[in-house]
């Protein structure tokens, strides 16, 4: 049950402040929200973070660049491939290394599969918070198939360590492309099944339409990225605006919503899964032969300089700011965490709503505390 402090009535008001979390099944990690309630309405909700801080950015300063990659896996642990992609992309940009096309295409496939995997977790837990218990199991069953593909490729299911500066550590195994194709070909039917369970469901619509609304201007002001931004109608996706790898050679659409509420963000993410399937199918068809690793020295020592490189992770824009002093370890490696910046808009999204909507909004922001706290 909830971890509640004794209520402290604020002076001269009828308001109550209660603490929601950090141990709570619905906060998706160790998030604490100090909620000020007036009766049943939320007046203010202040997230308190830091319960999962592990000093990742300080650890980066003592690691080599390739040794830092396993640490990035553990930030947004539901989407490890895009974390890896961001770091290696940033270092390659400082060094001026071009990754061979086969490696770039495989990276795109891994990243898009990771986007699907992350959205399946989001859907399962979001539906579970709102009360539907079964989609959790259906979505995780599909995620198991993706994790099996990852296990076959790089040996790990969650903390992948699947990319290196200059390319990839291994080539694909025999039959991997066939299995991947089989998975993505049957996946849209699964999405249709989940939609049949939820999208037109009047209870689902009652719980999500009009809940957690944020306008497009507010979203841009707060710096939101990813589905929260696109759900409000702003067409902004790093893969289209600042393309990396070979995203400008594949065709895909950016789904956007209209009203910026939870239902629109739900529709945006479902459509994103379908577009990821489309990207993976095109990449598999276009996969060139060749090496998977560029010519990079054994010990990576980028020249002095700094770079900011961002990728479109499943949660939003994940950016890496690397300052190199010419040595084998970075001088400073700062991460622009997508969930951290998305979470800052929580008070605006829940002001005036009921307590039961707080949980729906935390679910729709799709936060992972590993990335917020690092």
């Amino acid at each position: 049950m909830t971890n509640l402090e004794p209520t402290k009535p604020l002076p001269d008001s009828e308001e109550m402040e209660i603490s929601f979390g950090p141990q709570h099944p619905a906060t998706h990690g160790v998030l604490r929200v100090m909620v000020k309630l007036d009766g049943e309405r939320i007046v203010d909700a202040r997230p308190v973070i830091g319960y999962l801080h592990r000093g990742t950015e300080k650890i980066f300063e003592r690691e080599t660049y390739n040794g830092a990659i396993p640490h990035t896996d553990r930030m947004d642990y539901t989407a490890a491939a895009t974390n890896n992609q961001g770091l290696v992309g940033a270092v390659e940009r400082i060094m001026g290394v071009t990754v061979p096309p086969r490696a770039a295409y495989i990276r795109m496939i891994l990243a898009e599969l990771q986007r699907i995997a992350s959205h399946t977790i989001w859907l399962g837990t979001h539906a579970l918070d709102i009360g539907a218990q079964s989609p959790f199991f259906y979505t995780f069953q599909e995620r198991e198939k993706i994790l099996d593909l990852y296990e076959e490729y790089c040996g790990a299911r969650l903390t992948l360590n699947a990319m290196r500066v200059g390319g990839l550590p291994y080539d694909l195994t025999d039959g991997w492309t066939g299995r991947c194709r089989a998975f993505v070909d049957q996946f849209p039917a699964r999405i249709a099944e989940w939609e049949r369970l939820l999208t037109a469901n009047r209870i689902w619509k009652l719980r999500t339409v009009g809940v957690g609304v944020i306008s497009a201007e507010s979203a841009i002001e707060w710096g939101l990225t990813g589905p929260p931004l696109r759900g409000s109608g702003v067409k902004w996706d790093i893969r289209k605006v600042f393309p990396y790898d070979h995203y400008n050679e594949v065709e895909f659409e950016i789904p956007i919503g209209t009203s910026g509420d939870t239902y629109d963000r739900y529709l945006v993410r479902m459509e994103e899964m379908r577009q990821s399937v489309r990207i993976v199918q095109q990449c598999l068809a276009k996969l060139p032969d060749g090496p998977v690793m560029a010519k990079v020295p054994k010990v990576i020592k980028p020249p002095k300089g700094e770079v900011y490189f961002s990728v479109e992770g499943p949660k939003g824009e994940l950016g890496y700011y690397v300052v190199s002093d010419g040595g084998a370890s970075p001088y400073r490696l700062h991460v622009r965490p997508s969930c951290f910046i998305n979470l800052q808009a929580l008070p605006e999204m829940v002001r005036g709503q009921l307590v039961a909507d707080l949980i729906a909004v935390i679910g729709t922001l799709d936060i992972v505390l590993g990335e917020i706290d690092r």
């Binding site: 049950m1 909830t2 009360g131 539907a132 218990q133 079964s134 009652l206 307590v355 039961a356 909507d357």
Partner: protein, 355 residues
């Protein structure tokens, strides 16, 4: 029966023992079936380790609750705290005294009726007694000395009270068709009419069942007791046997609603089309089954069908928010059941009186 001691004391005691035994075992095993059926819908198998294929799981759960430490909050109101679970469980079990499981049959040369009492205000008795359960909820929430239990208890009670109105109105449509309040006579009226009341009264059937789901605080109406909510449910502060009682009461209430729905709408112990297919049901394929088992079997099958639908709802639907729940009850179900009542009344008049 010659001996009044046997007729008025021994036979009812035996019947009470049988009914209570069956109902409590059914409620306990319902928790097991719920876990298995939910699991099957969720691509997994439920408990299958305790006993053969998991069938001893409820026994293990009951033993666990027996030996759990009984924590009483220090500033809780002791007497009321102890009374809360009792006030919820007792009405759920008492209601079974008027539910008929079949017609009378002979046992050792004497007439035995497979129900405890045939009160001629049966339905009224049921509605009244099951309303006492609301007391248990409120008192349990208040006596825990926890603001959030109290809020949860009040919400739960508000939900129960507001969904009793459309439930009562749908029951009235059945009464219009059957012209009696006694449960045995309602089933006999369905036999005389040759059709289960679910067919002419399908709206009332649907409303009764959905309100029944709300009455038992089950998904999609289980906000007051959901784990992912901010406000704790009314039974947060209870542990051990008292919690077991609340748990038992919830499942027993499910069985109550299902049994009453069976009796009112699905013809109790009657087979499908009892008059039209009377020749088929009397054929030698079924003639070897003794009547008491035949009746009880049909009753059980229909009750299990309802319980399966309860569990199916739990596995599928998201939850209503509390204000939406109340709006649904007052703004949708009550008008619809009122209109349905008038329509059924008109229909009964046109058909020439209750049948």
């Amino acid at each position: 029966m010659a001996n009044p001691w046997v007729a008025y004391l021994l036979v009812p005691l035996v019947k009470i023992a049988v009914i209570l035994g069956v109902v409590i075992m059914l409620a306990a095993y319902l928790s097991f079936f719920e876990r298995k059926i939910l699991a099957y819908m969720q691509i997994r198998i439920g408990p299958n380790r305790v006993g053969p294929r998991g069938w001893l799981q409820p026994i293990a759960d009951a033993l666990k609750l027996f030996v759990k430490e009984d924590i009483v909050p220090s500033r809780a109101e002791k007497l009321v705290y102890l009374l809360g679970p009792v006030l919820v469980t007792a009405p759920a079990l008492v209601v079974f005294s008027v539910i008929p499981f079949g017609t009378s049959f002979t046992l050792f040369g004497a007439e035995v009726t497979p129900y405890l009492a045939d009160v001629n205000i049966g339905i009224l008795f049921i509605l009244g007694v099951s309303s006492v359960g609301v007391y248990g909820v409120i008192l349990g929430g208040w006596a825990s000395n926890n603001k959030f239990s109290l809020m949860g208890g009040l919400r739960s009670a508000a939900q129960l009270v507001s969904y009793e109105v459309p439930m009562g109105l749908s029951v009235v449509t059945v009464l219009l068709m059957a012209n009696s309040l006694s449960l045995v006579k309602i089933v006999e009226a369905q036999k005389a009419a040759g059709i289960w009341y679910a067919v002419p009264g399908f709206v009332a059937f649907f409303i009764y069942f959905v309100c029944g789901v709300a009455e038992t605080n089950r998904n999609p109406f289980d906000l007051p007791e959901a784990e992912s909510e901010l406000v704790a449910g009314f039974h947060t502060e209870y542990s051990g046997m008292k919690f077991a009682f609340y748990f038992l009461a919830e499942y027993a209430n499910m069985v109550v609603i299902s049994s009453i729905a069976t009796v009112l709408f699905l013809g109790g112990w009657l087979p499908i089309f009892p008059n039209w297919l009377a020749g088929f049901w009397a054929s030698p394929a079924f003639a070897w089954i003794p009547p008491v088992l035949w009746n009880a079997g049909w009753f059980l099958v229909k009750t299990f069908a309802f319980l399966f639908v309860y569990i199916w709802f739990r596995g599928t639907f998201p939850r209503y928010r509390f204000d939406q729940l109340m709006a649904l009850g007052w703004k949708v179900f009550i008008p619809v059941s009122l209109v349905n009542l008038m329509a059924v009344g008109l229909g009964v008049l046109l058909v020439g009186g209750p049948r």
